[in-house]
Symmetry: C2
Subunit: 195 residues, 2 copies
DNA sequence: CGCCGAGTTGAACTGAATCAAGAAACGTGG
DNA sequence: CCACGTTTCTTGATTCAGTTCAACTCGGCG
């Protein structure tokens, strides 16, 4: 088995226990792929057909609004799942772009393959139930987060996600926080003076 | 079987097919309860121990921020599940309040009972995977929603959720939209003039 | 070397919040 | 069924956080 499988099997093992046979079946459905910086995994207008699991690197999912602004919905780092499940579920064109921030390695699972896996490995239902529950919980926090002032958001961000602040450009952080590049920059300035 | 079970069984049936025996097992774990308007299902500071399924009526989940403002995270109408899964999962005090907006009927499932149900009725894993996936998709839309201007949010809200606009007070709608009562009111005024 | 994208800083502007105060609507008890 | 207090809604005037626009700096890379 390729060394890459380790990361995903380890992650799944934190939630459910698969037999060797099940692991084999699962891995057979995984497609390994590398993406370079700025390369798209998904572009808006296309129908999303795959789930993505990040082995290494960093992805960004964002929408471009009518006035041309980018709204970052989420970042995905090592061991995160990302996709446009709405597009996949309803076979509708996606409103999102998913782009590699760094050169990244991912596993892809095709929609129908995943459906098959659910019947072959029922434990995966449990695994993804937990994954989606956790994802739901994070997003709920983000709803509250967005109600706060720019400064509060910035402080909370550095506290909670400081560890990936260096890996991202200011513009991308700003679009995640829902503020402009300029405002984020001014907030950073303030911080320095206070310290 | 009580007539109330119909609603939840029907809802589950839209996602997975249970045997009669499984239905019985499930229903045995459900606790039926009525709540009056303004009554709390969960108060912040308490640890959430139950999932709630709304049979009839309407609930609201909100956080009270330090400055005393209420931020509505979500409403729950007929056939919706609601709870603080973060509090439940980690046995931590909840930051949310869940309150009945109207007199409401709900089914409650206790945390450990639900865990047992997952092993007894594996199909429920599938059911809740789908429920959480849908919940996740809605929240992702809400992230983008919150980036828009007050007016855009109001228009989109009336378009998408107009059907429950009458059942909610303006303050509650405002706190869901992330704007003040006053601003919402002014937006309604504008609409009338334009028509 | 020169270009281009990313970051910085300033000044003017604006959408929405805040503060304030009056008008409906609601429900509860006499 | 009306009178009362309570809550919700409405409207206006003022303020402010954050955007916008614009210019300028810095570092990397062909």
């Amino acid at each position: 088995m390729s060394v890459h499988y380790d990361s995903i099997l380890k992650h799944i093992d934190q939630h459910v226990t698969l037999s060797d046979q099940e692991k084999k079946t699962l891995c057979a459905a995984l497609i390994y792929k590398k993406f370079r910086r700025k390369q798209y995994l998904l572009q808006d207008g296309n129908i999303c057909t795959h789930d993505y699991f990040v082995i290494s690197g960093c992805l960004r999912q964002y929408e471009v609004s009518l006035n041309g602004k980018e709204n970052t919905v989420q970042f995905a780092f090592e061991n995160w799942w990302i996709s446009d499940w709405n597009s996949m579920l309803h076979s509708q064109p996606s409103v999102y772009n998913i782009e590699a921030m760094e050169s990244s390695e991912v596993f892809m699972i095709e929609k129908n393959e995943l459906e098959k896996l659910y019947t072959e490995i029922p434990k995966l239902e449990s695994y993804f139930r937990k994954i989606f529950l956790n994802a739901f919980i994070s997003l709920q926090k983000r709803i509250l987060f967005q109600q706060k002032t720019a400064e509060e958001r910035y402080l909370e961000f550095t506290k909670s996600y400081g560890w990936f602040e260096q890996r991202l450009s200011q513009q991308h952080i700003a679009s995640f926080l829902g503020i402009t590049r300029e405002t984020l920059n001014r907030l950073k300035g303030q911080q320095h003076k206070e310290n």
